[in-house]
Symmetry: C2
Subunit: 186 residues, 2 copies
């Protein structure tokens, strides 16, 4: 059937002819980390995260839904934890779910005024990302952070706003623990 | 946090102050089974399915998403397997995901012209329910069929069309196996 895929609930991996695979290498994420010196010392070809995705309808279809699993590696650039690029939805009011299969981390949520807060992500947490919020996952643990996501097929992605201004806060290691700090203090 | 709940991936159960619990008893499902004599002989207070649901925004909110887990008991009314009431979405183009945690069954999908087909549901299957399709889960196994779902918060529910006309096909036991038959031949 066109409309069925399979998931291994232990690993989060998706299987089926319609499943798409993508990956993001460190060198593609240059702009998001605050410590450019530390960034330059790391191998740019390292894969920071992979995504298995299932898009049963064309992007832009109103009323449809997409499904994906993200595998975010553990690690840091300087004192800043590995994280996803992050984005607003192009259609701003579109929400999304993240549901954690394995690992621990944080979900950074920034509203349109630039105010950022963090929510815990841990095995079994189902984080609701409301509309109008830029969202980014951060791996603060020692194993891959694996989470499934479901989001509207007409949400679209606005990476530009984030690429230009970034998030207003960063998740960094302080005294061996994750801490959310204002970008201006990093 | 208002926007976080937790799931036990082994059982599908949802936890958190915002989680709502509902149940459907056999007597509330009288109209959906074809064998009314067999129905009358069964205890009407038996719970056929339970739903844990998470609705972080008001029903009707455009762009939002709901999440739920359904626990559908095994059993039959005569030769017809236990199943959910089934519905179209009130906003017809709204899609939905069913992702199976445990058990085995079938997803009945009926289009607006009354044509019904069935897809397999088994542990790890992620079934995409396109817009414009009435949907109903059927437990054809010996253990509860447990699946998580994600759907738009403005989808709404149209149970009326199904209550009046039913699905055009039934999932019944034939020679010890599930078979989809036209209602007119039941």
């Amino acid at each position: 059937m066109n409309s069925i895929i399979h998931i291994d609930w232990n690993t989060g991996r998706l299987f089926g002819p319609q499943v798409q695979h993508s990956e993001k290498k460190l060198k593609e994420l240059a702009h998001i980390f605050h410590d450019q010196t530390a960034f330059s010392a790391l191998p740019g070809d390292d894969v920071i995260y992979r995504v298995d995705s299932f898009k049963p309808v064309t992007a832009g279809t109103e009323g449809g839904l997409f499904w994906g699993t993200t595998f975010l590696e553990p690690g840091k650039v300087g004192d800043e934890y590995f994280m996803t690029a992050g984005h607003f939805h192009h259609v701003r009011n579109r929400a999304e779910y993240y549901a954690v299969i394995e690992g621990e981390g944080a979900l950074l949520l920034m509203d349109e005024s630039g105010k950022t807060h963090a929510e815990a992500m841990q095995k079994g947490s189902i984080n609701y990302i409301p509309g109008y919020m830029a969202h980014r996952a951060v791996n603060t643990g020692n194993v891959p952070l694996v989470f499934v996501a479901s989001w509207p097929s007409d949400a679209g992605y606005d990476y530009e706003t984030i690429a230009h201004d970034g998030f207003s806060a960063l998740m960094v290691e302080r005294d061996g623990k994750p801490a959310l700090i204002e970008r201006s203090r990093a």
